[in-house]
């Protein structure tokens, strides 16, 4: 991880307007994301985590403040991000390969070279034999891996993950999180992941950002370091520091039922 800033969020606020009134979802938020970093964002439910991702992707424009990508102010969706959602949203009328190619088709960058790259990604991550299958023939974990490769195929500057494992059962979830994390690290991608699961956030993050209740503002940022030999999401759960971080974040989230 270098100190090169890839995304810079400067004093960003976002208000939603509806007939019932005005809701402030994000308030004066400032955050720098460094190249190659894995940031996870935790916060109380409905605090504006997803809004933050939509702002970074360019789907929403900030009401005030600005977001810079590689030093330039962001202006709309430019295909600079790869977005992973709760569900894999593979198109069931397309084969696995053609699902992976959709981003390239949209950006108009589908050629023999990018096609080869997409195919080699599928092979590299154990899906080469399934490229002509349809999504319903694959397990949930494999489908989520395809969803990740679909975003990697367009070679995005940054990956945005919005609770990408929420639709999976617990055991699968641990395994898939491990897989996805390894792929992202291997491809040296910068990632921002939103989750409400503190353990998941801790196990994958270089930094954990804790947000306040709506309107979302940064409550604290934790640089996560584990003393385990192999720093993978599953292994680092056994590290002694894990509990400590967990309790600290848990207290900060201040959950009342």
């Amino acid at each position: 991880m270098t100190e090169e800033v890839i995304v810079s969020i400067r004093n960003v606020s976002k208000k939603y307007h509806s007939l019932e009134g005005e809701t402030e979802a994000v308030k004066d938020l400032t955050l720098d994301v460094h190249r190659g970093e894995f940031i996870t964002i935790v916060g109380p439910s409905g605090c504006g985590k997803t809004t933050l991702l939509s702002l970074i992707s360019g789907l929403f424009r900030p009401s005030s403040g600005r977001i810079m990508l590689n030093g330039e102010t962001l202006n709309g969706t430019t295909g600079h991000v790869g977005y992973m959602l709760q569900e894999d949203h593979l198109f069931n009328w397309r084969t696995i390969l053609r699902n992976v190619l959709i981003g390239l088709e949209i950006k108009g960058t589908l050629n023999s070279q990018s096609m080869e790259k997409a195919k080699s990604l599928l092979h590299k991550y154990g899906l080469g034999d399934f490229k002509n299958h349809y999504p319903h023939q694959l397990s949930g974990g494999m489908r989520q891996r395809v969803a990740l490769i679909r975003t990697l195929a367009v070679d995005p500057d940054i990956l945005l993950l919005d609770e990408p494992f929420a639709a999976l059962d617990y055991q699968t979830r641990l395994k898939v999180a491990d897989d996805i994390w390894k792929i992202i690290k291997k491809e040296a991608k910068t990632a921002i992941m939103v989750t409400h699961d503190i353990s998941e956030a801790l196990s994958m993050a270089d930094r954990v950002v804790v947000l306040s209740k709506r309107p979302a503002a940064i409550k604290s940022v934790h640089n996560v370091e584990f003393s385990c030999e192999e720093r993978t999401p599953i292994k680092c759960r056994e590290a002694p520091e894990f509990r400590v971080y967990f309790n600290r974040i848990w207290k900060e989230l201040d959950v009342h039922v």
């Binding site: 992707s57 360019g58 789907l59 969706t77 430019t78 295909g79 991000v81 790869g82 977005y83 959602l85 709760q86 569900e87 949203h89 198109f91 069931n92 009328w93 397309r94 959709i102 981003g103 088709e105 949209i106 950006k107 991550y125 154990g126 899906l127 399934f130 299958h133 349809y134 999504p135 319903h136 023939q137 694959l138 397990s139 974990g141 494999m142 891996r145 367009v154 945005l160 395994k175 897989d179 390894k182």
Partner: protein, 281 residues
């Protein structure tokens, strides 16, 4: 490290090279036999109805002048075949139905796309669509006839108009049910509205479009027959009306049966297209 989960098995029921246990063979035989019984019973019912009809008419239990009878209908069919008019009438009706059906479906899908494209338009047109949808389109028949003339063009217009609003509403609702996150995903890739239409909206709505087509096949027949009743120059609808007016029930019954067969065939054809289109299941 990435190879340890297995894909969901694609079941390929029973066939293949692997040996089948006696139990399983028994089961398959039972299923097959049941299917044959059903088919035999279906055919038997048809034969039974026609046989009873024929015999009752011969024995003068029913009056064949009013009910017709299979042998007379067959004779009518042969006569129509001999003077060639059978194919002329079928040709007219079939052409009108196919053109009306295609026009209704295509224009209806196009309208749905327009409504999806412009939310403003959709909201403006909503009350009009509701009224037009509840209006029995057949009531417009005389107006169409006066406006565009007594001929196949009016009949086609009838078939089109009867399926247009239903298709528009059905497909538009299908569009609205497409998962928003799928659209969001494409937008993050920088997709234009046209790309969203092409890559998600239309393919995701294929099953909606096909069910609209299935309804439209039936509606197109209704439109065409009503149109032919009104125009009454040629076609099976004309034969039915004409036969009724001159009290030739043989002609009416024969035409109705040809109509039933043609309509069923066309429906089967659409079902076949459905299977071809939705091949990912």
């Amino acid at each position: 490290m990435f190879n340890n989960d297995n894909p969901v098995q694609v079941s390929d029921s029973g066939s293949g090279t692997n040996t089948i246990s006696a139990d399983h063979r028994n089961f398959l035989d039972r299923v097959r036999r049941k299917r044959i019984y059903i088919r035999i019973t279906q055919v038997a019912i048809l034969i039974f109805i026609f046989a009873v009809w024929e015999m009752a008419a011969n024995a003068r239990i029913i009056d064949p002048f009013i009910t017709s009878q299979p042998s007379r209908m067959f004779q009518t069919l042969v006569n129509l075949h001999r003077d060639g008019s059978l194919y002329m009438h079928i040709g007219y009706t079939l052409t009108e139905t196919i053109v009306g059906f295609l026009a209704g479906t295509i224009v209806g899908i196009f309208m749905a796309v327009l409504l999806w494209w412009s939310e403003f338009l959709a909201r403006v047109l909503e009350p009009y669509l509701v009224v037009l949808n509840s209006l029995p389109k057949i009531a417009l028949g005389p107006i169409i006839l006066v406006w565009i003339g007594a001929g196949p063009q009016s009949i086609i217009a009838m078939a089109l108009i009867i399926s247009l609003v239903v298709t528009t509403i059905g497909v538009y609702n299908g569009f609205r049910e497409v998962d928003h996150d799928k659209i969001k995903l494409l937008r993050t890739f920088g997709a234009t509205k046209l790309q969203i239409l092409e890559k998600v909206m239309l393919p995701a709505s294929i099953s909606t479009i096909v069910s609209a087509m299935k309804i439209n096949v039936g509606l197109a027949w209704v439109g065409v027959i009503v149109g032919e009743f009104l125009v009454s120059k040629a076609g099976l609808g004309h034969l039915i009306v004409y036969g009724g007016q001159v009290f030739r029930l043989d002609l009416v019954m024969t035409s109705v049966i040809i109509l039933a067969i043609l309509a069923a065939l066309m429906y089967q054809f659409v079902s076949w297209i459905e299977k071809k289109l939705i091949n990912w299941n």
